[in-house]
Amino acid sequence: MAVTAVHQLAQCITCHAWSADRSMVALCPNNSEVHIYRLVEDKWEKMHVLQKHDQLISGIDWSARSNKIVTASHDRNSYVWNLEGSEWVPTLVILRLNRAALCVQWSPKENKFAVGSGAKTVCICYYEQENNWWVSKLIRKRHDSSVTSVSWHPDNILVASTSTDGKCRIFSTFIKGVDAKDPKKESRFGELIVQLDLSPSWTFGVKWSPSGNTLAYVGHNSVIYFVDDVGPSPLAQNVVFRDLPLRDVLFVSEKMVIGVGYDCIPMVFAADERGIWSFIRYLGERKAVSSGSRYGSQFSEAFGKFYGQAKQGVSNDASETSRTRGVVHENCINSIIPLSRQGTQIRRFSTSGLDGKLVMWDLETEQDLLELLVH
């Protein structure tokens, strides 16, 4: 089985992030605090509780090299936490938002971070040495609705964002004094490089592939979009799948993506030699019921009422087993974070969901997927 560990750490986990050595995890248990746990022998011990935000913390990211935690919250603020001795000390970052902050991510070089907000803006924050504080620059243009997720390109300049207006946009975040000038790419801060209008519904979970050549994001209409050669003439593919929508994705290699969402089991997508993406399989067993509806008892009840209206009574399995949803997660999975890298490939990752579980997955046991990864 691909699952290596299941930990029930809270009633509901909004988001989580790992420390560089993966010994500690910071998570938000659906309130305004960040709990940091450390795995001591076999038990999880709560090491720190970071209390500064007033409202739900919607995003946490832990930088690997500089060991800073950045949190973004519905209270329109963001804090950068530094470990001083044994205490985490917060530094307020004035984002200048008038709506909630929804997602946050450190840039690859960890000198900037991006925050997506309900104010239809993306804030790019960088550290100003002279004044010893974090400055926020807003990308105000273009978004028609809340920015649901942000992702940095490996070059530390481009940021992709998805929004509830259905579009995925790529901006340049070149800041004089922070980024080195690249003669090949002349770009101004906030310049819209590409706008992808592929989805009629809300979009979530954008991620770049390790090389930065491919982009993947999901739509709320149960479609996952892959865009190759992002630039003036991108190559877009949409993979339609049969079940409930996804919320987040992760590139485990250049050619394989794991998606997680409302179906409670990770889905694996891969590109073949021609570059055509398709759905491979679920990670883990999905208990399929013999006939009739495949879905949980709630669904079959609803379908039973629905179809009972027809003159010819349709047979629906009355004896429905309770859980045909996920085997491991019992509720929506809302984030997937890499745990270990081998070169540019990720073999182990963790997922957290609304059921409060933190699950670690390992692809080493999945032979067929490993073969796909090797290509």
Binding site: S222, S293, V314
Partner: protein, 135 residues
């Protein structure tokens, strides 16, 4: 490859109506030959290329409705239908359910159950979220 490419701007409403009438005649002849599955496939083909104003959508719906009501073997029909037509069929099913007419609703419900089994909840979601390509 993107779905958006299939939404081709049609010439004008008159041309679309003519094309739909032509399709209707083909559907009628197929139904006379007791080939309801073929008729439905003809009805669903090229729907995106023919979207236009309300008149076109109505004309198209009438053609699809004719073919839908003639289907007796739902399982057989679904197994021979191309998966790319699942989403568009789902949209027409909901349009049928919206009419409130008893025989239409009965037939649509019957097909809806089997289609959901085959195509999954994602198909229903794609109907719900697609506000651009409505039928």
């Amino acid at each position: 490859m993107a779905r958006a490419e299939r939404f081709v701007e049609a010439d004008n409403a008159e041309a679309i109506i003519t094309r739909i009438e032509h399709k209707s005649r083909k559907i009628e002849s197929l139904l006379k030959q007791y080939k309801p599955v073929e008729a439905l496939k003809t009805a669903l083909e090229g729907t995106y290329a023919m979207t236009g104003d309300e008149r076109c959508k109505s004309a198209h719906w009438i053609a699809v409705h004719r073919a839908l009501m003639a289907i007796k073997d739902v399982d057989g029909m679904l197994s021979s239908l191309d998966p790319e037509y699942y989403d568009i069929l789902m949209k027409y099913l909901y349009r049928g359910l919206a009419t409130g007419d008893r025989p239409t609703c009965d037939q649509c419900l019957r097909i809806h159950e089997k289609l959901t089994e085959k195509a999954g909840l994602g198909c229903i979601l794609r109907f719900l979220t697609d506000t651009v390509n409505t039928v």
